[in-house]
């Protein structure tokens, strides 16, 4: 409970005693580059194979003359948009971006760089963490959109190359009874996950004490707690928004 209270105080500090707006613009752009652009390759790779594997496994489980083939791509679409793109990519995002945030801030803490900012009269929480949170909230939904698209392309190619579904049926299934609210739901989830990963990882890194070993522990803890938060939020949001 004490840690939770400290986390909320930490969130409060993000918004008080900030520097000028201009100071944050460059920092946010830098964070967007570090968070978004540098994650594109990994997210693309994972999403592509995720779609391909989902297509083949769904086809394997749906061998029945009563079920039309386009159901395979329909399942791929719904799984990708509702769960795989926002949540599984979220777990990967926590591993890549969250650990990087925690270790970066942890290193700054133990090498007194954060103290140096404080002594200058700069709110180090706001200066260092707010751009990460904004960058994360801006970039992660875009990564999720990319992941969803590539997952469906991966499924298309896998289905076509293995012959489990024809391209025409695949596209028919993708478009069949599409509910746009699923995309809205995925975006709400992605915003929540982006916020959780950025704030939890920054919190763990910011309050690192000790030396190099503790920076490693903070990084591991950041990933673990971010993943737990993502899964909990995933369940709660599904309960709240899919009724």
């Amino acid at each position: 409970m004490e840690a939770l209270g400290k986390y909320f105080i930490f969130l409060g500090k993000l918004l008080v005693n900030r520097e000028s707006f201009g100071t944050y613009v460059k920092l946010v752009i830098d964070e967007c580059m570090a968070i978004g652009i540098n994650s594109i390759f990994l997210v693309s790779l994972v999403s592509f194979f995720m779609g391909a594997v989902t297509t083949i496994q769904t086809a394997y489980n749906l061998i029945s003359p009563l079920i039309p083939d386009y159901v395979i791509s329909l399942v791929v679409r719904d799984m990708t948009i509702l769960e795989l793109a926002p949540t599984i990519i979220g777990v990967i995002y926590a591993g890549k971006v969250g650990s990087s945030m925690a270790s970066g801030l942890g290193t700054m803490r133990i090498s007194e760089q954060i103290d140096a900012l404080e002594v200058m009269g700069i709110n180090s929480t706001s200066y260092l963490v707010l751009p990460k949170v904004i960058g994360s909230v801006l970039m992660y939904p875009l990564l999720v959109i990319l992941a969803g698209l590539l997952s469906m392309i991966g499924g298309y190619l896998a289905g076509h190359l293995t012959g489990v579904i024809t391209p025409t049926e695949y596209i028919y299934g993708i478009r069949f009874e599409f509910n746009p609210y699923m995309v809205t739901f995925a975006m709400i989830k992605s915003l929540a996950f982006a916020f959780l990963v950025a704030t939890i990882s920054s919190f763990k890194g910011y309050y690192t004490t000790g030396g190099a070993v503790e920076v490693g522990k903070a990084s591991t803890s950041a990933v673990t707690q971010s993943v737990i938060a993502i899964l909990t939020a995933d369940y709660l949001l599904a309960q709240l928004l899919l009724k």
């Binding site: 100071t23 007194e112 002594v119 200058m120 009269g121 700069i122």
Partner: protein, 247 residues
């Protein structure tokens, strides 16, 4: 001038600072000395506001700092420059970007003026032309000098140095000490140096405060250290073989 009154600080029930008071004068280096673990760095961090004291008051000139509002604390801190033990340079920024950092964030100075000011400060600490090097590409002594340049770039009125000579060879240590002394006198700033280096004490110790087990045990100048009459202080000063011979 900085005045501290009755500073107390404990961590998990263990008393680290026990009622320390003193005045740190403007225009001369004020040294806080003592053996490792006596609370020197904790006292320094209390004074700059990185650690809140449990009791006591800290005054920057006539402004009370300990219980000041956030805005007043920020205002005071913007007049503070600090050289950290490890330099605390931002390792993703070049030497120039490190020194320019306080100007970038805290002022609205035009870009040209900022460059001129940075070059002036780098020249002042003997690092002319090193602008584009990364902290990892320069020596420990040079990192300390960059730290000093960053501390003075914003025309700070208060300079704090935490173990400025740690990890440096004796010659480089003297260079750093001389630089701190020159800058203090030239800009008439209030400088507070935490050290356990006797060379620094003898070189720049205009005002010296000796801490022993969290208590101020002795106070004086470098000319008075040989006849302090305080056993703990004598034990500290004459632990060094060179000092023993001098004695």
């Amino acid at each position: 001038m900085i005045t501290i009154e009755n500073i107390h600080k404990s961590f998990q029930g263990k008393s680290i600072l026990n009622g320390i008071s003193g005045v740190f004068e403007q225009g001369k280096p004020n040294l806080i000395i003592g053996a490792s673990g006596t609370g020197k760095s904790v006292l320094l961090k209390c004074i700059v506001g990185l650690i809140p004291p449990d009791e006591g008051h800290i005054y920057y000139d006539d402004k009370e700092f300990t219980n000041a509002s956030r805005d007043l604390k920020t205002e005071i801190r913007r007049e503070i420059g600090m050289l950290f033990q490890g330099g605390a340079l931002f390792d993703s920024k070049t030497v120039e970007q490190n020194v320019m950092f306080p100007l970038d964030v805290l002022t609205k100075m035009p870009a040209g003026e900022k460059i001129d000011r940075v070059n002036f400060c780098l020249e002042r600490v003997g690092l002319k032309g090193q602008n584009n090097k990364m902290p990892s590409e320069i020596s420990g002594g040079m990192q300390k000098r960059v730290g000093i340049a960053r501390a003075i770039v914003n025309s700070s009125r208060f300079l704090f140095c935490d173990e400025p000579n740690s990890g440096l060879d004796p010659q480089t240590s003297i260079l750093i000490d001389d630089l701190i002394l020159e800058i203090t006198e030239e800009y008439n700033i209030t400088t507070l140096v935490v050290t356990h280096d006797m060379n620094s004490v003898l070189g720049i110790g205009s005002r010296i405060m000796f801490l022993y087990k969290g208590v101020k045990c002795w106070e004086g100048t470098k000319d008075e250290i040989t006849d302090s009459g305080v056993k703990e202080f004598d034990d500290f000063v004459f632990a060094n073989k060179v000092m023993q011979r001098l004695r």
